[in-house]
């Protein structure tokens, strides 16, 4: 045990004093924070500039049907997110001027001069044909923020109101122009009814996804580093020196513990960095401590499993490049649940979700997500934890067995048959 602790301490200090680790530890939150701040600022600024810019559409009404229609249109932007308080009401309505022209030729000149963004020609037979013509310049500005890329769709309510004006009352004309403003309501298991809340729907997933991201970050940085460092030690024969003083098992446990401690420090640091705001958020969002406990459980076991797998990869790999390639394959399997996030969350009790819960590579993140979606029965949780624990133990045992032989086999890339032989003779 003393030797295991000596190795763990040495590896821990080696890991946390590495520039890459420090950059990830301190630089990552700074980078992400700055990125969010910059992109948010840029988005708001861009939206403000876009809204401040006067937008005009030319109208050539040859039918005469819309002579008394309004000369502007007000459009509500991103109506689905209308309940988000932070979205300033001033940013959510856009006004478009409609400029009337007596002839198409006159309108074309205005378009060429950039006075209007596009021209809508309403022909004389519009009432019978329903056809409109939209003229645009060679370079269009896409109005992606408002979801409008065609003046035709923007004009639809205006056309309906214009057609019905004087024929029906104003209220009926409004309903015909905007027939449905659907309000979504949710009935919970107790029968209580409440307005659908997007934030409330994603709220239970915040902690699981946070833990999943932390796990992936740790695996991608610390564990991958360990695998390549191990390959380097193997390549330069430093391991040969170490293994005369301790067993392969002691070396692996020491390295794994050291690595785990480095990852834990990273985890605690991030948690501490967001502890105060998170505490408020937990209270405000009504999250329970069980999620955090399950998250920690999966984080610890998941990291042990991936750490053990990547240690094995480092032991097998003969060059750093080969080890990095193998490590990438292993860590990508861990990301798999994030790649199938939509089917997982839409059917958290489905066959895919259940299968991924029992595969050690995908169990931590799938389990976290399913728990967040309230679709992980306790017995499935226990099984997946057992699978992870047993797999970690087996991988460590496997690693220890092949290591003694693998460390001497430099220069060639081992085949599957050779691995099997190492396993038997190690």
């Amino acid at each position: 045990m003393r030797k295991i602790l000596a190795v763990a301490r040495y590896e821990f200090i080696g890991a946390i004093t590495r520039l890459g680790y420090l950059l990830t530890l301190i630089g990552m939150p700074l980078f992400v924070g700055c990125l969010i701040a910059v992109t948010s600022l840029a988005t708001v600024r861009s939206a403000t500039e876009s809204l401040a810019k006067k937008r005009s559409i030319g109208i050539v009404d040859e039918s005469g049907l819309f002579a008394s229609a309004p000369d502007s249109i007000e459009t509500e932007l991103m109506p689905d997110l209308g309940r988000i308080r932070s979205a300033d009401i001033a940013l959510r309505v856009r006004r478009t001027e409609l400029r009337r022209f007596g002839s198409l030729k006159e309108a074309h000149l205005a378009l060429q001069r950039g006075e209007v963004a596009s021209i809508i020609r309403i022909p004389t037979d519009y009432l019978t044909s329903g056809k409109l013509q939209e003229y645009v310049g060679p370079k269009r500005e896409f109005e992606l923020a408002s979801g409008q890329i065609s003046a035709g769709s923007l004009l639809r309510p205006w056309l309906v109101r214009g057609l019905l004006k004087g024929r029906v009352d104003a209220e009926t004309a409004d309903r015909a122009a905007e027939p449905a403003k659907i309000e979504r309501l949710v009935i919970d298991p107790t029968g209580a009814v409440a307005p659908a809340d997007l934030i409330r729907e994603v709220r239970p997933l915040i902690v699981p996804i946070g833990f999943a991201m932390l796990l992936l970050l740790s695996v991608f940085t610390s564990a991958s580093y360990l695998a390549t460092a191990l390959a380097e030690e193997k390549q330069n024969r430093a391991l040969e020196l170490l293994l005369t003083s301790l067993t392969a098992d002691q070396l692996f446990w020491g390295k794994l513990l050291g690595l785990w401690a480095a990852a834990l420090l990273q985890f605690v640091f991030y948690l501490g960095l967001v502890a105060v705001p998170a505490a408020f958020a937990f209270a405000a969002l009504g999250l329970n401590i069980a999620q955090a406990m399950v998250g920690i459980c999966y984080f610890v076991l998941g990291f042990f499993f991936f750490g053990a797998v990547l240690l094995t990869v480092g032991a097998i790999g003969n060059t750093q490049k080969y080890t990095q390639q193998l490590s990438a394959v292993c860590t990508l399997t861990g990301v798999l649940p994030m790649m199938v996030l939509t089917p997982l969350l839409s059917q958290p009790r489905g066959a895919l979700a259940r299968t991924l819960t029992y595969i050690p590579f995908t169990a931590p993140i799938t389990g976290l997500l399913r728990f967040g979606a309230d679709a992980l029965p306790w017995w499935e949780f226990v099984i997946s934890v057992l699978v992870l624990t047993i797999s970690s133990g087996l991988v460590i045992r496997f690693c220890g067995r092949i290591f003694r032989v693998a460390l001497l086999a430099t220069g060639t890339t081992p085949k599957l048959g050779q691995l099997w032989q190492w396993l038997r003779t190690g």
């Binding site: 030797k3 000596a6 380097e232 030690e233 020196l241 005369t244």
Partner: protein, 315 residues
């Protein structure tokens, strides 16, 4: 000068013993039926061409490889656990973690040898001071010159004050001053009753340092014994002379090498006709009144013996 044997090696139990050890890798015989006993206070030279089985032998000695047959005894028992803590090992294609700081690395290796952290740090400092590396104790290994890295590697093998040192090419990359320092350190260990097994191609070091040697070729023993005895036993009866005169024309001389005429500078080697003794040659020198400065039987160098033995085995 070769260190004195301390005490009489045969009087004590061997620190490392290999008994009829064999190891194969597939169809390749790496070591076959090899026996060796390393006594306390002894420096043992392990020689052989590339691929002779020296590295396999060293690895079996420290339990990195298990023999297919035979037995390895380290400090009288199996090479495992605490016995391995008393081994200093320096592999051939060695390297140290380049990011590690010198003092921290040596302290760590000492801890793995069973020392406490404090004792280990103290010994690491002492070794670094002895190797004139104390000013670089905070440096990373990768920042050191090749020679200094080699010194750190030697220091790593000496950590824990091992009973047995198994070192492969310990003097590679060292300048003459540091080579002397390394030799001095090894001699001190031997004087304290430790044993050293050196695997090397630098045969002058074996002649200079080792008490006994073992020459391997393709896993088999070609030669073994005390260094001086091995050299004497391979003498071919030729004579080294220096002086002035035509030594090559003496009746008892069949042929000679080096300068045909002795010019008083470099010695020449005289190969004698069958049945002619060195005394008879000396008599002929006197009779011809040749000026003689030195006259001695030729004892072959280990390099000559090595080349001859390996060529004969291959033939």
């Amino acid at each position: 000068m070769k260190p004195a044997l301390t005490p009489e090696p045969s009087a004590r139990a061997p620190l490392l013993e290999l008994r009829r050890v064999s190891k194969r890798f597939g169809s390749l015989v790496a070591v076959e039926e090899l026996s060796l006993a390393l006594q306390p206070g002894e420096i043992f030279g392990l020689l052989g061409p590339n691929g002779a089985g020296k590295t396999t032998l060293l690895r079996m000695s420290v339990d990195l490889l298990r023999p297919d047959s035979g037995e390895v005894l380290l400090l009288g028992g199996a090479p495992c656990g605490e016995a391995l803590e008393r081994i200093g090992y320096l592999p051939e294609e060695r390297g140290l973690p380049t990011r590690a700081r010198v003092l921290n690395l040596l302290t760590y290796l000492g801890e793995l040898k069973g020392m406490t952290r404090e004792d280990s740090r103290q010994q690491a400092r002492s070794l670094l001071r002895r190797m004139e590396l104390d000013v670089r104790e905070r440096s990373r290994v990768g920042e050191l010159s090749k020679g200094n890295q080699q010194k750190v590697q030697l220091a790593s093998a000496l950590m824990g004050n091992p009973q047995v040192l198994l070192i492969d090419e310990p003097f590679n990359g060292l300048d003459p001053v540091n080579r002397s320092l390394a030799i001095e350190l090894l001699k001190e260990r031997v004087a304290a009753g430790k044993a050293v097994l050196i695997s090397t191609h630098q045969l002058q070091h074996v002649e200079q340092l080792c008490h006994r040697l073992l020459l391997l070729n393709r896993g088999r023993v070609l030669l073994e014994g005390e260094v001086d005895a091995v050299r004497r036993s391979h003498a071919d009866g030729s004579i080294l002379v220096s002086g002035t005169g035509d030594f090559g024309s003496l009746p008892g001389v069949e042929r000679w090498t080096a300068a045909a005429q002795g010019n008083g500078q470099a010695p020449i080697r005289l190969f004698l006709r069958s049945g002619v003794t060195p005394d008879a040659i000396l008599q002929q020198v006197v009779e011809r009144r040749l000026s003689l400065r030195s006259f001695a039987p030729h004892v072959p160098t280990l390099e000559e013996i090595f080349v001859r033995a390996v060529e004969r085995a291959r033939a």
